[in-house]
Symmetry: C2
Subunit: 606 residues, 2 copies
């Protein structure tokens, strides 16, 4: 028998699972030049079906990674929602239409839908450009975290030992591998192997709602087939999500009668196939006809569960994310979005610790920020799912859900479901002391998108596009009206102070300021008179970094009025935006030391 | 000695010259599945310098070929123009700023600048996807047009014999090739070999203006270095065009003194190099400093000539385009733009004739439409160049050009220089009879961009994006308010009539309507009530083809008010848009036979 020489190696981050949560993390880390590996048990990427709805906030996040153009090009755009309820003739009728998204500040105020494989491809191509590819089919067969305190506290140690098995290896020839990782991310789905290995519990329960999902190209006379539809009929509820090309996804409510084997009395998934699902939808959608002349692309059945993991990490060395730590209904289109936002939140923090820029304790904010969100999501999901699955109110039965109630829920939670309203509470990363200096830039929420023009060339620029997810902190100096000499003097004084060795910009810079901080300045002066060369040099590391709060030359882009929209003090404000795009702090010019304290609370001096 | 077996072959279109004019043609034809070859004498594509300014209309044209996203991504955007004149202290000072483009209806109301090689790459990649590549280095060594009348009149004949020489062929082994072409395009530059072979004259003259051009990355304190600048100083005139990245192009006026050899008294190009050019610019731009710490990327010298070819074709079998038929100053940034518009105009007409859809006579409109434009361009160029090269007016010298005069010229001709105002006169392709039905869609001008929303999914769509350069005629049915039953009845009656065998839609269809015509409909009904399924089927070949003239769900895209903006009769109008994006005809519903007559004037019944 041949002696198996087991391969052993170190890695900074090992990601287990290449779904959206794992890919978001691996892509972010790969682009940040962190040593990352990502494995998946599936031999190939998913080709159809699965999750598909992308909410406004995730589009902003995709944009921050330079991936949104492709997403918008390939996906279906969903702008309108239509609501159908029982009509007088036994069939359904439209009771109203509304905007699909209720989030006035969203940069992309609509949903998009693309099959999960399409979304994963966008990540795979972005990662490949950074030299990271998914290793597959590979499964972890054991995971062990060191119990040595010193090792656990040393960010340079590799305290997690994982044994991997390469499923397609030639038998006996190095199919098993040992990896020592600084950090491991379990992004391995609802039945997470990582979670179970560390005995992390899920809190919450299963519901009685059983739903079927079917993806098809419809042949129909239904006028809202390209809108998101919530259909309540006497024959059950049904939801329509338009998809890329001519495809459509139907979510279909199933009753016990459909699913239960009369002999055994138990749910029998063999009783349902795509044909049977379509037949149920046809009954709900009467008098409109719907059928398909093509094969069904994908279908599934599921029972709604609403659960959150009790903890998101083990000693800040092993993390779980995505479906591994929260499951809920797909009604509000949240699953994949929440999963990607989990690891978007985590990735830059891992990078900071691995580079030696920040304390390990920074990683505690991953659980505190993301678990709270997941709990709120479950609460919302319970309400929404119940309303969706309940019988509609009709003239006969006054105990159902009325169109108005349902629409109200839909719109009231628009900020939440869009991901736009996500709010991280005070922590080392969220300091609300000087909120008044930028009263409408809510600290702990994502930086509000707004268009400014560049001082040097009058080109309209979305400020969010100057805040890429490149792991740098963005330091935005709202310098006031620098065409005014007194205000320019104030800005110059601030620049002088920020240039001192004790200022955060120098103290936490790694070699040079631009490694950690990206400095941008915004003047409120009139564009016809502003010279970008007037701005202090520290505030314009490049000609493209000075913005003007004024209309563009043709008044078409929505530029102008930014100081007011953000509630910026006319005497100026410093706005600190985290690498993930959330406002971390604001401060007036005369409280620079508070900004330094903010960074000192989690960052290390080189 | 080996016997050289000369290769002989047929081709539908042979394009000589792979600059912007030739590439626009080859790309358009390749994508239309026309058998096209394109040759160029240069062994590789240009890498730097040459033409660079792209005007608003060409951006719309690029967009119609799906190439504009990349152009906008790679190029510098120029929104603002700044004007400098002699100041009180001997140096220059800014006398004003203005929008760089004066063309209110432009979809892209700014200029972009990218080196010619970058622009050519966009074409090369687009062509490659259609299987067309440039053959190089290849030169034509003889060209001969048959004088057989019957052959000349038969679009299926190959009356042009061209002998090509492959410069990199191994000696004696088939380096010479004979090509028989249906059509030849000479896009071979100002010294066109094709033009000279057919003895076509250039009308016009050389001027006395000598200019130098230099591309560099500046080190400067000049505040308008990223704007387009017109600088009139006591020390000569100078123009700045920002370029991609941090590059800038300087156009520098030269005086005899700089250029003339005192010994011989003749212009001596050896007296000038990039350093000397920069020194002249430095004098003009005083008191601002400008220098470069890098190598100059490209430089040249030229004398302005303003000339137009007396004819653009020989028997509609050999054509010339671009610099081969018009030369002028680069001051107004027109050269490359006019060249690309030439062949954008020609390509679809060649496709129609080659497919047997249209008479050869259609090709006469190429010269009538494009030569008139070139003549107007020369007239404008004379005025603009003279003003630019003339000394500025100062307090001392009242005979110069004032800032106000120069600005007025700059803005008055904005529609013309942007390419937006180009107007083709009445012809077989431009029928102005029923202008009143769409009073603000000027027949003979390009279709006005405007945003509508899609009826099926409320997605805002720029109407121009539904008019791609796919060689199809676009038939836009402005159906009026189809939520109104009477108006819907009118629309249905029109659909019934258009569905008859004598209607143009059936008579000139090649097998099926969609081969030649793309039908789009636009209702003015309220979006909350419109059902796309109400539109007659003939007017909605796909769910995406029905638009609504209403605001989008978030009122951000500029959608709404399109009927008024276009001056559409509330009872409806038929708008016929040529494959190159120009309005060919409009008609009221009750004059469908006039639309049929329009097509009958140049199209053939299969």
């Amino acid at each position: 028998m041949p002696v198996s020489l087991t391969k052993e190696s170190d890695v900074d981050v090992l990601v287990i699972g290449a779904g959206p949560a794992g890919l978001m993390c691996a892509n972010a880390l790969g682009r940040a030049n962190i040593n990352v590996r990502i494995i998946d048990q599936r031999p190939i990427s998913v080709a159809a079906g699965q999750a598909d709805g992308i909410q406004p906030r995730i589009m902003e996040v995709f944009q921050s990674y330079g991936m949104n153009d492709r997403l918008l090009r390939e996906a279906a755009h969903v702008h309108m929602a239509a609501f159908y309820n029982p009509g007088p003739n036994g069939g359904i009728e439209r009771t109203g239409r509304a905007s699909d998204v209720t989030a006035p500040t969203a940069r992309y105020p609509f949903e998009v839908a693309l099959h999960q494989g399409g979304i994963e491809s966008i990540f795979l191509d972005s990662m490949a450009a950074a030299g990271v590819t998914v290793e597959r089919p590979v499964v972890p067969i054991s995971i062990e975290l060191s119990n040595n305190e010193a090792e656990l506290k040393d960010p340079k140690s590799h305290p997690v030992k994982v044994i991997l098995k390469h499923l397609d290896a030639v038998e006996g020839q190095g199919d098993v591998e040992v990896v020592y990782a600084n950090f491991v991310l379990g992004a391995d789905g609802a039945h997470s192997w990582v979670r179970r290995n560390f005995g992390i519990e899920m809190e919450g329960e299963q519901t009685d709602y059983i739903w079927g999902v079917v993806d098809l190209v419809p042949d129909t006379d239904f006028p809202d087939i390209r809108n998101r539809c919530a259909i309540h009929s006497h024959n059950g509820s049904c939801m329509i999500i338009p998809r890329e090309g001519d495809r459509v996804r139907l979510y279909i409510q199933l009753t016990d009668k459909d699913m239960v084997d009369p002999a055994s009395g138990r749910v029998d998934k063999n009783r349902m196939g795509p044909k049977e699902l379509l037949a149920v939808a046809q009954k709900s959608m009467h008098p409109f006809r719907i059928s398909t002349s093509q094969d069904v692309h994908w279908w599934t059945l599921y029972i709604i569960g609403q659960r959150v993991a009790t903890q998101y990490s083990v000693h800040e060395r092993v993390f779980i994310a995505g479906d591994a730590c929260h499951t809920h209904s797909p009604k509000a289109g949240q699953g994949m979005n929440a999963s990607m936002n989990d690891t978007h939140n985590l990735a830059w923090k891992l990078a900071y610790v691995l580079r030696g820029w920040a304390n390990l304790s920074l990683l505690k904010t991953y659980e505190s920020e993301r678990r709270k969100f997941a709990q709120e999501l479950i609460e919302f999901d319970k309400l929404f799912s119940a309303q969706f699955s309940t019988k509609p109110r009709t003239d006969e039965g006054e105990d159902g859900v009325s169109h108005e109630e349902f629409l109200k829920t839909f719109q009231t939670f628009g900020g939440f479901t869009s991901g736009i309203g996500v709010h991280y509470g005070p922590s080392a990363l969220v300091n609300t002391t000087h909120q008044a200096s930028a009263s409408k830039l809510i600290i702990g929420e994502r930086m509000l998108p707004h268009v400014f023009i560049r001082a040097a060339d009058a080109r309209p620029m979305e400020l969010q596009d100057l805040l890429p997810a490149d792991t740098r902190y963005k330091v935005i100096i709202f310098a006031g009206d620098t065409n005014n000499k007194l205000q320019l003097k104030r800005a110059k004084a601030l620049a002088t102070e920020m240039d001192q060795p004790h200022s955060f910009l120098k103290r936490f810079a790694q070699g040079h300021i631009g490694a950690v901080f990206d400095v941008i300045s915004v003047t409120s002066g009139n564009k016809m008179d502003v010279d970008y060369t007037d701005m202090p040099e520290l505030f314009r590391p490049h000609w493209s970094k000075v913005l003007v709060d004024d209309t563009d030359m043709y008044n078409r882009s929505g530029a102008g009025g930014g100081y007011e929209y953000y509630g910026i003090d006319p005497e100026g404000a410093i706005v600190i935006v985290r690498p993930d795009g959330y406002v971390g702090m604001v401060a007036p010019f005369d409280h620079l030391e508070d900004v330094t304290d903010y960074f000192a609370s989690f960052m290390l001096t080189p």
